[in-house]
């Protein structure tokens, strides 16, 4: 509970209407921030993230099976996961909009059902196009409907432990890729790819109970309740654009942040794709190279949780920590080729461990900064748009690095360029307003569009985005 003597706007203007309704209807369904049910949601996020991204990362096991069975080229088969990933990213704003229009619980449950359905249908595929449509499009749509609502819900349910909660939730991705690789291998060996996909579809359906754990907030009447029987075209457009939070695209802080994150994305994935090949080229054996990547993955998990815990201690502003981690990641990526060119395996391992830790630390913070910039109420839509825009930048990064490798013959230039993109993104962060102040700026003032997003606002309850450092009422 917050002490009364705080000089802060608890009730942003324009919200009094729906606010009263919220208070009137708040009861057992209303959670205290950082409370018990929040941690249950973290578990739900843990499971659903692992079943979405952990699963996506381990789909490579099916690659050889598909190449053999369908007798197609490797490129045609790799389109399956590309379509899946692209669908997940493309439909993220749709997921956010649907949550704003309806209910996070329904959206996540639908997403889980679609993800499972896509894989189950894929097990019956008789040609490659079937796989594109089922494993790619349908499952991708399902995945897109899961990510943004889950993350936004956890953000809304925590204030002081937000980064830790997100870090724990995201740590599942790394852990599950460790566990899923041998599991998928076993499934394919026992049941062939058809049976394995069927069982994976069943596993993906476990996201539905995770979505069920999201408590739907009782909905107040929407402002323009059916006083007019038919909605005019401009009304529909206005509602549509507000659900998607398209107005964010006109705000400078959000644009700056999105640009910075896109720059991160260009460089972030390069080591994932090229580290093994680069280590092999530097003369290390297959096992040594694989160990380096696994070690980086392990420290990635630790970095997510550790940075989450540390950021919540509140000694530094989140935006400063984010800049620090991205600077470090950029630096270590640039150091990666240096350490392997000198021929020292120990140096390569150490730099990779540090890179893994810092990149995991970075991941926890990227989404947590969003509510600081746009306010908790608009986080849902903001995340959806951010996901879409940053992922298109990510598509740019790996072909660019591959291109550089083809020209120069080794990976040094690719890593240097990737690291420099991260440094550039870090500098872009510095252009955010109030970057150089030591205390948090006041949260963005909510405008009249708040009425469309009562759900998030109610989840965050009586505490809108807070100044974490200056006053700690309950610690």
């Amino acid at each position: 509970m917050l002490p009364l003597g705080l000089a802060r706007d608890d009730k942003p203007t324009g919200m009094t209407n729906s606010k009263q309704k919220a208070e009137g209807q708040s009861d057992g369904g209303e959670d205290r921030p950082d409370g018990g049910w929040g941690w249950v949601l973290v578990v739900a996020m843990f499971v659903s993230m692992s079943l979405v991204f952990g699963l996506m990362r381990s789909l490579g096991i099916f690659f050889l099976e598909f190449v053999q069975y369908f007798e197609e080229s490797a490129q045609a088969i790799s389109w399956i996961s590309s379509i899946g990933l692209a669908a997940q990213q493309f439909f993220s704003p749709l997921g956010a909009a649907l949550c704003n229009a309806y209910n996070a619980r329904v959206v996540v449950m639908t997403g889980g059902f679609l993800a499972g359905l896509g894989l189950i249908l894929a097990s019956q595929a008789t040609c490659l196009v079937h796989l594109y449509l089922t494993m790619g499009l349908i499952s991708g749509l399902g995945w897109g409907l899961i990510f943004t609502p889950m993350v936004a819900t956890v953000i809304a349910n925590f204030t002081h432990r937000r980064t830790l909660a997100l870090g724990l939730g995201f740590s599942s991705i790394g852990l599950s890729s460790f566990a899923f690789n041998p599991l998928f291998q076993l499934l394919v060996e026992t049941y062939a790819w058809r049976g394995a996909l069927l069982i994976l579809g069943g596993l993906s359906l476990n996201i539905v109970p995770c979505g069920a754990l999201i408590r739907p907030q009782p909905r107040p009447k929407a402002p323009q309740k059916d006083s007019k029987s038919k909605l005019s075209c401009s009304d529909v457009l206005r509602r549509f654009s507000s659900y998607l939070e398209l107005s964010l695209l006109l705000e400078r802080p959000y644009i700056t942040y999105t640009l910075a994150v896109s720059l991160f994305n260009v460089g972030y994935f390069v080591p994932y794709f090229h580290l093994v090949a680069h280590s092999r080229q530097a003369g290390f054996s297959q096992y040594q190279a694989a160990f380096v990547v696994s070690a980086a993955g392990a420290t990635d998990i630790c970095g997510r949780v550790a940075s989450g815990w540390f950021s919540d201690l509140g000694h530094f502003r989140l935006i400063h920590l984010l800049s620090l981690w991205t600077l470090l990641v950029g630096l270590f990526i640039m150091l990666l080729p240096v350490s392997s060119l000198t021929g020292s395996y120990a140096a390569l391992v150490v730099i990779s461990l540090l890179y893994g830790f810092c990149s995991g630390a970075l991941t926890s913070l990227v989404f947590v900064v969003v509510p600081k910039i746009v306010g908790v109420q608009r986080t849902m839509g903001a995340l959806g748009l951010l996901q879409l825009i940053e992922s298109s930048a990510g598509l740019l990064g790996t072909p660019l690095s591959g291109f550089l490798k083809d020209i120069t013959g080794n990976y040094v230039a690719s890593f240097l360029v990737a690291g420099s993109f991260l440094l550039l993104g870090s500098l872009t962060l510095a252009t955010l307003p109030h970057f150089f102040s030591c205390t948090e700026p006041p949260p963005p003032v909510a405008d009249k569009s708040e009425a469309f997003h009562p759900e998030l606002e109610q989840m965050s309850g009586l505490s809108p985005d807070v100044n974490d450092q200056t006053d700690e009422p309950e610690r």
Binding site: A192, L198, N206
Partner: protein
Amino acid sequence: MENMPASWKLLLMLVLTASCGRVHAETLDPSPKPPASAPALSANMRKVAVLQSQNSTQNVQLLNPLNLSLECSLTADHDKLPNISAFWSQDGREIPDSRLSATLEDQQYHVRRLFYIAGEEMLGRYSCVFENGVRADFILATPPFGEVRDKPVVSYGGDFVVLPCKMEEAKPKPLSWRWFRGNKTHKEQISEQPQRFQIHSEERKSKLKVINLTHEDAGVYYCGAVYAIGTTMNPVELKVITYQEPLKPFIGILIEVVLLVAVIFLCEKRRSKKNTSKGNEENPDQNNINLQEEEKGAEEGSSTRQRRV
């Protein structure tokens, strides 16, 4: 030399090779010449094993029929006997009339024998065995397959399966590919039948596609890389299962999902009932909304709900 007529050249060559051959025979091999009809007296390939006190094994990769000269050189120990006897064996059985006595030359005893390897039946393990027990093995074989798949290939009844086979770049190209079915002792070659088997072979790869699988199709298949001298076999095991096999764990997971969703909704209903019974009648709509929501939500993954007033 170029001015000599061709016949003189031929005569000179013959004399030279004959004399070389005789020299070899005199110093090392007092026994008669090798049994198979050797087209030429000179060896196409020569393999040497240098022994001291331990046995050695060598793999020899052969593609075509040829004359193979195998040679063993044993370093003399402190005894320095003038003569030591040795014999050659093939696949563990001593080759008749191959026992000979090697004399000491430059601290070593040399034993050499020329073999004419005509076909697959002559491949195997050839050994030179000295009287003190030291031996050198030469394993003559066609190029082996690099990766042998130890896990069976699984597929479903009614479906088809593609069995792949590959000879790596580092190994020589086979002349052709053949597929067999059976066990180690008896293999039947598979011929192409349009409704059952399709074989598609490239230079280094071959694929056997078995269509319309039944349980009788399960077993071991052999892909054979055919060389002039013999065929290398690579076994691949095929297992045929029915759709019910993965269905069992799948149904189990489905039941678990439905149970979880039901439990979650039931707990929520109970908790909201408890709360509304504690609270007063200020939230009758709340109750209705909750119940309606749960009823609808209990259907797994339905489409988005309608807004309620």
